[in-house]
């Protein structure tokens, strides 16, 4: 409507709408404004505030008290904190390599044998299920005495497995549940990456006599790198923050075997009368770890560059 008025009477100054419309940069900012507001309100401000809170003794209900580095000293002196870091890293090492390799395999299979949107829909189905439901499902499936999977394992002679109840298997079992949940979604991301690789490259490779493996190693993998880096960075960050499956399936047990860093932070608040100082100090440490890991990942895999230019 505004635009019509401008053309109808050119003497009138261009309306606000049309001026914004003509300013590309401003328009861009307007488009990201809603998520920017959300980011500032729900991420940036709480994140910065939590850095301040980590230097305080505060339960959110009474007055805060500045204590300097005391929370960090207590944190670093706590064996449970170090163990939780170790458990978290173990989880990430179970979770990420298996999940990424499986997802890559599924994506390649899809590209080879089926283009069906139905298949792609089915693959992300586990990812669409709420985490709590998935965890409950596996608590029953993996139960040592009543669980379907254990009854199957006993029938084929593998024998009963403790899974969530066995401290040596619990963290790997949690990782297994999340691999099952996420690999389809990750496969779809990689599949989208595969679609961006020009077919002509493979034709040229075939003319040159390169076999499937060589094509995969020399064309597919290098050209998938930006997508793989994106997948790795986001899934590693998510993996470090594992909580919901554990909260439902093991509550950090047995014997503390699944107390990951986020479970540790949760305990500081809900089991230690809202000890926000310790909780935020641990969060700041986790934040620094994630920033470092992400920088290393992006640097070492040159995730911001594509090799496609080299092939032309």
């Amino acid at each position: 409507m505004a635009a019509i008025r401008v053309t109808a009477s050119p003497l009138v100054k261009p309306s606000l709408m049309s001026r914004i419309g003509n300013n590309q940069a401003l328009l861009g900012y307007l488009f990201i404004l809603p998520s920017l507001i959300g980011f500032i309100a729900f991420f940036a401000v709480p994140a910065i505030r939590s850095i301040f809170i980590s230097f305080q003794e505060w339960n959110l209900l009474t007055d805060a008290k500045y204590v300097g580095l005391e929370n960090y000293q207590e944190l670093f002196a706590d064996d449970r904190f170090w163990r939780s870091l170790q458990i978290t890293v173990t989880y990430v090492l179970w979770n990420i390599p298996l999940q990424t390799v499986l997802a890559l395999g599924i994506a390649l299979l899809m590209e080879r044998i089926s283009n069906s949107p139905l298949l792609r829909g089915l693959l992300i189905l586990p990812w669409l299920m709420p985490n709590v439901i998935v965890a409950m499902l596996f608590v029953w499936l993996l139960d040592p005495t009543l669980g379907l999977i254990n009854i199957f394992l006993q029938n084929i002679g593998v024998g009963q497995q403790g899974f969530f109840g066995d401290p040596n298997q619990a963290i790997a079992s949690i990782a297994g549940v999340n691999i099952w949940r996420h690999m389809g979604y990750t496969a779809i991301l990689i599949y989208a990456g595969l679609k961006t690789i020009p077919k002509s490259l493979y034709e040229a490779a075939r003319v040159d006599g390169a076999n499937g493996l060589v094509q995969f190693l020399r064309i597919t993998l290098p050209l998938l790198r930006p997508v793989l880096v994106f997948v790795m960075v986001t899934s590693v960050i998510g993996s470090f923050q594992i909580f919901d499956t554990i909260a439902v399936a093991t509550e950090g047990g047995p014997a503390g075997a699944t107390r990951t860093i986020i479970v540790y932070i949760y305990e500081q608040v809900f089991e230690r009368r809202i000890n926000m100082g310790m909780a935020t100090a641990a969060s700041v440490v986790l934040f620094l770890i994630l920033v470092s890991v992400t920088i290393v990942q992006i640097r070492s895999f040159r995730g911001n560059q594509s090799d496609l230019a080299d092939y032309s």
Binding site: N59, L60, L61, T62, V139, W140, L142, D143, P144, T145, L146, G162, F164, G165, D166, P167, A249, T250, E251, G253, P254, A255, G256, E267, V269, F270, E271, R272, R273, I274
Partner: protein
């Protein structure tokens, strides 16, 4: 046209707002939460009776599962959205007192002349500290043995054995013998037979309700206290005795039911779905649990009975735990909330709860109604009631500060003992030292 319709919408909204504002002045809605779904219908009846007597006050009852319940209440304190009145637990309320989130009811009790001696002796005092009062008692619970009548009959074990069975931490007494007699391996040998194969058990004699963490309410507490052991140095104590040899022996016995004897499913097997689910699967003869679980066990697909606890060196002992209703300091409707708490603590409401049979109310007559209701249905729950009425038959849930921290420390230690990773004698003294350092 467009303007007119939006004007109309505005008018309607304004009208609705003013209506709700007017009704808000007259009628108050109290938010009340509880965690036990089984108790919801009976408390809804209480709420209806309360509103009938106080037409200006409506009670809106919310139910949340145990695990989410405390998280929701804690976040509610912070966000200013906690319920006006909530069902409180002895393990949790000291923390809420420390955070200054509970209304001191003592001045209101005195002002209105509310009698606090109408309850089972000891229940009202559990909720007092330094002259302040943080809740009015609503119910109590004790522990008893739950058994699968079919499996006992099949093994030729008369439930009457529970009338005078005994237990010691050294040899387990006739309690352990009975458990052994009810355990069967794949070859049909029971646990007493020299040929019993504990690696191939098809029917367990007993299922422990996990390792029990810091309190062992439905687990080892009955046995441990029957040796003369106590948790700590009294109500609001600041010294724990988890390093006492009597306690260590009891906990090791509890873990050894599975680890050493093979008469019980392993801790791994019990931990995720819980003992009552395993018991209800039908191939476990006995378990121990609290009176609030009576209804759940009666819904099993086989006949279930309730038997007395074994008598230890110092007699039969059950933990006596009681819930109460507390008012949140942030409530905008203190007087109305207090009316509701008074009603919940009165015979008017507790008789309704008693008649439903779902739990034993704090007022003895109402608890008698619950027992009668079960008896009318052909179920004998005297094992729970007799325990509560017996002289010296009960000990109180240990009320103390730092319950969250103590649970974190003890859960880890007890899990390790249950899994067979550590011996009780090796980890409990260190855990105890860590706990006593908190105070």
């Amino acid at each position: 046209m467009k303007h007119r319709s939006s004007l109309f919408v505005l008018l309607v909204v304004a009208l609705l707002l003013s209506v709700s504002a007017v009704s808000a002045q007259d009628a108050v809605t109290i938010r009340y939460v509880l965690w036990d779904t089984n108790q919801l219908p009976a408390y809804q009846q209480c709420a209806d009776a309360f509103t009938a007597a106080n037409p200006d006050i409506t009670v809106s009852i919310e139910q949340l599962g145990w695990d989410d319940y405390w998280t929701a209440i804690t976040t509610g304190f912070i966000s200013g959205d906690a319920p006006d009145v909530f069902t409180n637990h002895l393990a949790k309320y000291p923390e809420f007192v420390a955070l200054e989130q509970l209304v001191d009811l003592q001045p209101l009790v005195e002002r209105d002349g509310v009698a606090t001696d109408i309850y089972y002796p000891g229940l009202a005092e559990l909720w007092s500290k330094d002259g302040a009062r943080y809740g009015l008692p609503k119910d109590w619970d004790t522990i008893a043995v739950v058994y699968n009548s079919d499996l006992l009959a099949a093994a030729g074990v008369d439930p009457a054995v529970m009338a005078d069975w005994t237990w010691t931490p050294e040899d387990g007494g006739s309690f352990l013998e009975t458990i052994a007699a009810l355990t069967l391996d794949a070859n049909g040998n029971n646990g007493l037979s020299p040929d019993f194969d504990k690696t191939n058990v098809v029917q367990y004699g007993f299922v422990p309700d996990t390792m029990g963490g810091a309190y062992g309410q439905t687990q080892w507490s009955a046995l441990a206290v029957s040796t003369g052991w106590t948790f700590n140095n009294g109500v609001w104590g600041d010294e724990y005795y988890y390093d006492d040899p009597r306690f260590i022996d009891t906990v090791q016995f509890w873990a050894d039911l599975a680890l050493e004897y093979g008469y019980a499913p392993s801790f791994e097997e019990v931990t995720s779905l819980g003992s009552s689910t395993l018991f209800q699967a039908g191939n476990i003869a006995m378990t121990m649990n609290g009176s609030w679980m009576i209804g759940t066990f009666l819904s099993s697909e086989f006949p279930v009975g309730f038997g007395r606890l074994p008598a230890g060196p110092e007699g039969r002992k059950s933990m006596f735990n009681g819930l109460a209703d507390s008012i949140w300091v942030g409530t905008p409707h203190l007087e109305e909330s207090w009316s509701w708490v008074k009603f919940l603590g009165s015979a008017d409401c507790q008789n309704i709860i008693g008649a439903s049979g779902v739990v034993f109310p704090a007022i003895p007559e109402a608890a008698g109604m619950a027992q009668q209701m079960r008896a009318d249905a052909g179920v004998d729950v005297s094992a729970f009631v007799d325990q509560a009425n017996e002289d010296g038959g009960t000990f109180l849930f240990p009320i103390a500060d730092y319950a969250g921290e103590i649970s974190t420390i003890m859960n880890e230690a007890m899990d390790a003992i249950g899994l067979g990773i550590s011996k009780a004698a090796d980890v409990l003294p260190a855990a105890n030292a860590e706990i006593n350092d908190l105070f």
